[in-house]
């Protein structure tokens, strides 16, 4: 992305379709384009930063099987993937699996044009080398007996299915990949996905469970800092963490959050230019896990010192009786000189947080439940 784009585009994936919102560089006026795929459950919609016009959408439609749609003209026309993500026939005596839905899309490295990665529910990792037209499973994850044991069963997963998410490509090295699995932990590959090592040291699990059993690890969202790729941030089922490589022990920086808010949530957002700055959006993770804004008072929290301290960012957001929250893919940041945050709520509202979340304003209301929000600058 550039510091002076012609315009911004927001990509909003919802439970009932997808929307594109085209904004001016001042981020004040937004032109709504949609719905696309009305009635389809869209988990993720992403722009290819390498060409600035190819979009991929992960879709599931009622009882129909999952698929991926592709546009090469910024959403004017769509074509379906010739070979959507699908598991291989069973091997190693492992049970056969079927993809319920593609959950996460990540463009490949800048040097690998047309390469994409996809994470699915149940947990699977797939790669496309033709811009999303066809996808192949990565057996080192999908058919690895140890990883499969850690993935658990569908009954062990999150309410709408266990997921492979947070596919991170190191901007310095296309072979260096990270993935998160809910459940199943964080894993790292240095050889483009042919082999994997675990990266969970320091991460906590629910009280009473054994942290050495990766099944119990539930990273909600893992991000790499583009300005300092040795730094990772993570929002986990059990707190907010930071890891500075070559270290290998996650530090629970969420302990510095206000006790009455806690450090449970789903999204994790990192600043495009400053690795000490990051944001989360806490939710109520007490007793039965209401998964609402704590106290009905939604707020982002930001840190400017790598998690040593956190500031509440709620100016413009509802001050009471607002019980929505934000899913793990539904909060993001643009890459302008003074970045703005964007978030989509479970109640279908789209918000912009100017000046790094200091001033919130609504962009759209009355959309379906928002599952993912991405932003990009386009020319």
């Amino acid at each position: 992305m550039t510091s002076s784009p012609t315009r911004l585009v927001l990509m909003v994936a919802t439970r009932k379709g997808a929307w594109l919102l085209h904004g001016d560089p001042r981020r004040e006026a937004w032109e709504v384009d949609g719905p696309h795929f009305l009635g389809h459950n869209i988990s993720h919609l992403r722009l290819d930063p390498r060409d600035g016009r190819t979009l991929l959408a992960a879709a599931k439609t009622g009882h129909l099987g999952p698929t991926v749609f592709r546009s090469i003209d910024l959403g004017q026309t769509w074509i379906e993937a010739r070979q959507p993500p699908a598991f291989a026939p069973p091997t190693n005596g492992l049970p056969a699996r079927t993809v319920d839905h593609t959950f996460w899309l990540t463009p490949g490295h800048a040097s690998e044009r047309d390469t994409w990665y996809a994470g699915t529910s149940p947990q699977g990792l797939f790669r496309s080398e033709d811009g999303g037209a066809s996808w192949v499973p990565l057996p080192a994850v999908n058919d690895n007996a140890q990883l499969r044991e850690w993935m658990g069963t569908v009954q062990d997963g999150t309410p709408d299915g266990p997921k492979l998410h947070s596919i991170v490509v190191d901007p310095r090295d296309p072979a260096h990949l990270l993935i998160g699995m809910s459940g199943g932990g964080v894993h790292e590959s240095r050889d483009a996905g042919r082999s994997w090592t675990t990266l969970v040291e320091g991460m906590q699990v629910v009280e009473g469970f054994d942290a050495s059993t990766l099944t119990y690890h539930d990273p909600h969202c893992v991000r790499i800092c583009p300005s300092r790729p040795d730094r990772l941030y993570q929002q986990n089922h059990c707190g907010i963490y930071r890891l500075d490589r070559p270290g290998h022990t996650w530090q629970r920086i969420g302990r510095h959050m206000p006790a009455e808010v806690g450090d449970i949530g789903f999204p994790m957002v990192v600043h495009p230019h400053d690795a000490d700055t990051a944001w989360v959006f806490p939710m109520d993770g007490t007793d039965v896990w209401p998964r609402t804004s704590p106290g009905g008072r939604p707020a982002a929290y930001g840190t400017r010192d790598g998690g040593l301290s956190w500031q509440r960012l709620d100016q413009g957001l509802p001050q009471q009786q607002a019980w929505w929250t934000v899913k793990r893919q539904a909060m993001t940041v643009d890459a302008l000189a003074s970045p703005a945050l964007y978030l989509g709520t479970t109640s279908g509202e789209l918000w912009i947080g100017h000046d790094g979340g200091a001033r919130w304003a609504p962009i759209a209301r009355h959309l379906p439940e928002i599952q993912a929000v991405e932003v990009a600058a386009v020319v």
Binding site: H63, L64, G65, T67, A81, A96, R97, T98, V99
Partner: protein
Amino acid sequence: MNVLVPSALRSYTCASQVQADGGTLHALFTDLDRRYPGLRFRVVDEQQQLRPNMRVFVNGRGVRDLGHALAPDDFVAIVLALSGG
């Protein structure tokens, strides 16, 4: 043979009833996918099973075995269970 297509699949066929061939339901879905690329995977998963909540009726009789033999004048209806929110 005639195949009744549910509304959710008409973005592929552009018609509620289409013609396709096959000696079994497996072969029929292969032929449907040749004529309407992408349709088969939305109905039959990668382990060659009819997806949950999908129903196939042959001459009015419910069938789940995709090896079920078909005759050229059979009438096949693909139906989605209506559920969800």
